[in-house]
């Protein structure tokens, strides 16, 4: 695959943007039981957020491996450009995989994949981020095509319908905070450092093959 991607800038390690700004002294959950309960709910829910089975085969047979790789790279670049939270990127990637796995048509063109990636990022952004972002800013860079906003809106609606409006995805990233509870002996600096490393690892994994086919909690 390397030869195919000679012109791509590989983003194997992601920029550590927003993540270092967090204070790791406090967690969203204040007690271990709450955290444990949240963990259990994640485990129960995650299967519902997995792509359909045989997604990998589908990607291969439809020749979408490269397209997916490029879309993921674009998501990672957008994260840096728009200063997105990691959760948004993971959500967008999750919507992307779920949608592709549910639409097993053969005639995917690359522009369709790009449109899908834009819609995924836009929906994930609206779902999780706190500021407003116009559609034209999302598709400002690194794309081969540019789309009218009403087309993007229609794609968003198709995406939302296909996903059954279920957007609060459980992804590998969801487990990070929950797992960090077990390292409560670490100082907040070390915890931040560790979280950053793990997040980097997961982000770089995103564009590879592994991510989408494994149960998230195992990762």
């Amino acid at each position: 695959m390397d030869s195919l991607l000679c012109d791509e800038v590989w983003l194997t390690t992601s920029p550590t943007t927003t993540i270092l700004n967090h204070d790791y002294g406090g967690s969203f959950y204040t007690t271990k039981e709450d955290s444990q309960q949240a963990f259990d709910i994640c485990l129960q829910k995650e299967i519902g957020y997995m792509p359909e089975s045989q997604y990998q085969d589908h990607l291969q047979s439809s020749g979408l491996i490269l397209a997916r790789f490029r879309a993921m790279q674009w998501l990672l670049k957008s994260q840096r450009r728009l200063n997105l939270s990691c959760q948004t990127v993971f959500n967008a990637a999750n919507y992307f995989d779920r949608f592709l796995s549910m639409n097993q048509c053969k005639g995917w063109k690359y522009w369709m994949v790009e449109l899908l990636a834009i819609a995924c990022l836009s929906v994930a952004y609206k779902f999780g981020e706190t500021t407003h972002l116009p559609l034209h800013e999302i598709q400002m860079e690194d794309l081969d095509h540019s789309f009218q906003s009403n087309l993007i809106q229609r794609m968003e609606l198709t995406l939302l319908k296909t996903l059954g409006w279920r957007l609060g995805s459980v992804t590998t990233y969801s487990y990070i905070e929950l797992l960090m509870w077990n390292f409560d002996s670490l100082t907040s600096f070390l915890l931040g450092e560790l979280t950053t490393r793990v997040t980097d690892l997961l982000l770089s994994n995103l564009s590879g093959n592994m991510n989408s086919y494994n149960v998230y909690s195992i990762l």
Partner: protein, 326 residues
Amino acid sequence: MEKLLNWQYKLGKVIGIGAYGIVHRGLNLETNQIVAIKRFYTFDCKNGVPYTTIREISMLIEMYHINIVKLLDVISNTKNEWYIIFEYLDLDLEKYMYIMHQILSGVMYCHKHRIMHQDLTPDNLLIDLNASVVKIADFGMARAFDFPLRAYSPEVVTIWYKAPEILLGSPVYSTAIDVWSVGCIFAKMLMRQNLFAGASKNEHLRKIFSIMGTPNERTWPGVTSLPYYPAGLPEYYPEVISIIFASIFFYFASQEMLCMNPARRISARRALGHAYFKKKKRKEKKEKKMTILDPIEKKKKKMMMMMILDSVSFTFVVVVVMLTDY
């Protein structure tokens, strides 16, 4: 009820207007279930699907809890108009407030007609859910009063809603005792438990004092010479009750309706004149009276009303269900 939605829902009256859409009452033609239908304003294409829509639907679609409104369906028609179908509920909190207004109106009416209810409790306040109307019931303890106010039997009013002047054995008391009861009922509506709940008269008094502060000659002239004024009570200071009530409205209610000194307690009429209720009244005028669609449901409610009518002693007194436990 003319408009059809995907041949599945009948679109009825508008029951609410929000920043992002209009809520209609509706009927599911397959199940005959009454629903609420939220119709979104046409999406502005520039920014795609609004984030509020995305969040509202995606959050609710995964929540199944008795105390969270149930999202039943998301549908779109050929014109790309989007609708969310919710379970239908009778009252929102605004109407809940409106209920308070009605309770006070009823009490004011009684007082104006020189009647003291003397036994205002949550189970004596009945609600007609069809019309969102509250009715004061059970006048078995009520008395017509005249001036000067003579001493009444102190054994009226269920203890938890009894005003402190009764508990302290004041020889005279007035309409202010009803206002105290209403204050306690409001608190219970909000907190779903009694603000003051003592097992005995003395314990109850102590509970009141511990929250409202021990009354003294300065805050309530004459209080220490009342027959049951307990000696040797600790000097409690009023709690910052606004934290308990968590809203300005309830702060108002607590400070003025639950004022220990009956002479300073707000009257039902003045309480109704509070700015909060004035706002309500304007809004109320705009609201159209709600009517029920389903005849079976209507029948059921009517039967419930009849049953309760039987059990209520007083003749002209009416209707349904203890609000707080509904």
